[in-house]
Every structure is written in structure tokens, then in C-alpha cells.
Amino acid sequence: MKTIYLIPFGAADEEIFASVELSLWHSFGWEVRRLPALEEPGFAFEPQRRQYSSVLILRMLQSVFPADALRLLGVTEGDLFIPMLSFVFGQAQLNGGLALISLARLRQTFYGLAENNAVTAARAVKEATHEIGHTFGLTHCLDAGCPMSLSNTIWQVDRKREELCPKCAFLLQEMPAWKSQSRP
């Protein structure tokens, strides 16, 4: 059966991964499994920016895409960037197989606050749903409470709910990338 795989870079934070896995299963209905962790992606590190290139990490993920995978979501603690932007929370292939999220800016410590794993887990759930949504062809939603809405700041992430809005849930069912897969 086709599966959505998660792949951690570095040690996986159990509370965060368990939340993301449960939530993706709930939102998309496919089996969700975790692959053994990979090392932190030093190959994608850009010393001048002190950030990781999301494009290079996505390219690497292509080479470890399991044969029975429907989607592969990388999760890293590294802060991600694309050349044009100062950072990205994550990146996905629109209508493709790969997605990536960074926990760096989802952690309270990034903003000088005390670590709160429950908050990070809730944020990771929304960003994982957002990027996996892109892989099924969903684009940004105008409902600021929907996980498919565009977030450029952490407060925009926080105001999202964890479940897709009714419009995106409906659109998902109509997406060719979704329809082409047989349901579990």
C-alpha cells in the first residue's frame, strides 16, 4: 500500500513526530510511517547565510524516495532558505512527491522564549499539512485559519487551525494528483 513517509534529519523529537504523523493520517487518510533518521544535511549548508538550501535538500530526498512511497516529507532542525528569500518555513513540489519543513523557526527559542514542545508540535502539524497539501496540487487558501494559507511570519502560522478548511478539503478530492491515487 502506498504510504506517506516522514524522514528526520538528525534525532527525531518524538512528541513532534508523533503529532505530525497522527495529523497527516487524519487529514489525508493514507498510512503514515517514519523512516530511519538521516544526518543533518551539512551538504546543503551555506556558511555565509548560516542556513540550509531547501532546493539542495529536496534534490537529495529524491534519491532516497522509497518505492512504495506516495509522498516523502523531510523534517529538519536547520533553518531553510531559497536564494530569493531570507527564509522559508518549508518547501514542496507542487503536484510532486517531495516536501520539506524546518522546525528552526517553529521553536519558541528562535524568538528568545522558553522552549515549549507542545507549541512546536502544533506548528509543525500545520506546516506539514501545508506542504503535503501542495504536493497534491493545493495552492494557498485565502482563509487565514486554513493550514493552506500563506504564512510568512510565526503569528500567521499560529492563527491557522490544524484541519483543512471545507473548501480545501473539497478541492483536494478534485485534484488530479489526488484522484490518480487509489484510496486506502
Partner: protein, 452 residues
Amino acid sequence: MKTHWQIMVVDDEEIMRESLAAWLREDGYHVETAVSGRQAIERARRQNFAIYFIDLKMPGGYDGIETMMEIKKLHPDASVIIITAYATVDTAITAMKEGAQEYIVKPCNPEEISMLVSRIIKVKNLQRENMILRKKLTRNYSFRDIISKNARILEILDLVREVAGLRSTVLIQGESGTGKELIARALHYSGDRARKSFVCVSCAALTESLLESELFGYEKGSFTGATAQKKGKFELADGGTIFLDEIGDISSKLQMDLLRVLQERKFYRVGGTEEVEVDVRVIAATNLNLRKAVQEGKFRDDLFYRLNVIHIPLPPLRERKEDIPLLVEGFIERIAHEQGKELREISEGALEILMNYDWPGNVRELENAVERAVVTCKTPLLTESNFSFLHQPAEPREWAIPTHLTLEEAEKKIIQATLQRLEGNIKETAQVLGIDRSTLYEKIKKYNLSRP
């Protein structure tokens, strides 16, 4: 309303180009990329984009500023955003002076880019809305309003461009709903007569005498109720264009009057003694085969040849099905806007239904079907279920509704078939047809029908 806007990203560096394009695509925009200024200019020659992101430094040929200048020559309204890794005051000033909308230094805050893009798109949406409203108000259409990638239609549009400035009479032939009036308007509004009137007359809608006074006007007292002099459509169209729709339906007397106007550009008002001279371009349209009508003696050959100086045959929609997706997209955008609904997309399944349907009513029927679907659709996407009314009935029809006949021809066929079924019984036939016996006799005589 963003999905209809297209964005171009121009950068020689692959990762930069593709990652920005992917980021914009996630926001719902159609994005194209170009690896050089030269390639970007080539693409822009074929189509305009809402926003151009152009890198300042590109090797070989055109740099960012030169690329922008060339694109601005092609599309003066283009919104260009110049991207650079190193900000210098000089280049920023040059870029802005040459017409860049923004000058941004990478890496840039994602919120800044999002706001910049949505600000530009908001203005573009308002401009488009303004254009749609103005068009609706003035009905000032040009050939740019005709949506097609069909080779025959594109040839016709070339012909329209060529002959728009002439005074030669044009005959447009096509089935109902193929866009004959749109072509006529395009001819008028693309030519020298655009500033003068475009007057449209449906010849089938009026009786002979009404049509005569409608076309040529009348003098005071020329008939009961003519309390004042009235100008006809030919006079109203002086200096401009008159569009005579359904020309095949006019009586033989009017055919003769019309021939005279076409020959001499002069006529008399009904009841008038003074000749009126006009400078009018005549565009006629018909859904009939006029050549055949001439052979059958139903239409004057001399009038036919006068009208048929430039002949534009419009293909039915079933012969240009490749245009359906483009047409549907245009209709959805306009109708959703008119209905004040959030822009709706169409699912692949729904489009397949539209592609497989035969469209006897042509583009007009397609437009009506899309309007009905948009109005009744409760979701943000038009799906198969919104077009279920187009399905052919499961049981085969006893007969297919004829779509190429005049009402008279259809009437003749229906009477003949009913007479045959009822073995020539006049009383029963009249009953079934819902007319009285004397009317049925008149029609049998009129159509020269045989009783079995």
C-alpha cells in the same frame, strides 16, 4: 482572482529561477521562467505577463535593465521587478527611471515579496474590472475579444484586420451562436469607422413593412401613426456601419430596395420623395446557405453578389473544439465577476463533458451552460455534476431536434410527417398539430405538400 495572472521569472541562475517560480506557483500563479533576457523578450513577444521578475546581472546579450526596456517597448503597462544581489544607488535609480515598478535586493523578506505581488495584482484586477465594465457599457469590441487558437478562426481574424478599414460589403455566414455579431463589431471597431455608429438590425424579427420603415425611416403622415418624420437605421449609421443580421429572411421587395442602397448608397424614406444619401458600410450575416437560396430562387443573385464581396464563413464550435477550454476560462472569469462570486476553476472531468458535447447552439450555448453552472455551483470548483443538464438522455430520442432549418422548413417537415403518420386524415392531423382545418389546408397549399 489570481490564478489567471501569469508571472515571468528571468534569471540565468537555475536554483534562483526555479525556487522563486516554485514559491510563486504555490501561491496559485502560473509562472514561466526564462534563462536569459533574450529568451524572456521572445516569450513576451507572444504573450504579456502580469509581473516580470528580472535579475539585474545576466551574462551575454541583455542585462536586466535592457531586458526590461525591450519588454516595456512590447508592453508599456508591464510591471517589472528588478532583482539584484548588491544594491547600489545608481542602478536602483536607473532601474526606476527606466520604468521598473520595484527594485529589490535578495535575499528579501518573504512577507515583502508577498505584499508587493499582491499589491500589483490588486491594481491589475482593478484595471481588468474597469475594462470589463467599460466594454459592457460601450460594447466596444475588437478582434482581441475573440478567443481562439483554431487555425480557421485565426485566418478569419487576419482577414478582419485586413478588411476592417475598407468600405467593402461583408457577408458573414455561420450557424446560430457562432459569433457573427462579434466579428461584425470587430470589423467596425478595428477600422476607420470606429468613432461613428455601429447599428444592428435583426431582419428576422420584423415584418416586411416594419423592417422597411425601420431600415429607411419614414415621413410624417406616410402611414397611420406616423406623426413625425423618423430616421431609419441606414441614416443613423451614416459614416459608420450597419449590421443586417439574418439577411436571408428578408422579402423579395426588401431585397430589391437593399440592392438599390448597395448600388447607389441612396434611398427614399417610406412615404418620402426626397432622396437620402448615406455613407454606410454594410455587414450582413446569415445562418442559411445563401448560395443555395439563390439557386432555389429564394434570394436575388444580384443582391447576393453585392453582399458577398468579402465572405467570412464561421466554423461551428464542434469543428473548433480546441477552443473550448479557452472560451470556458474566459466565460468563468467574466460571469463569476458579474455574479460577484469567488473565481471558480473547472475540474478535468467537467471539461471533458464540455469537450464531448456537440454544441448545436455553438459558443452562445456554451456561454449559457457555463453561466448556469456558475450560478448554481455552491463550491469553488465547477465539477461534472454542475453540467449534468448537458447529458444526453439515457433513452434514445425518437427524433433529433433539427438545428439547421428555418422555422418554415421545420414547420413544413412536421406537417408532412404528421400527415403521413395519420394517413392523410386532415381532421386528426389538425387536432394533433393544434390548428384548425382551414389553417392546415392553407399550409398544405403554401408548402405544396402531398397527402398520402
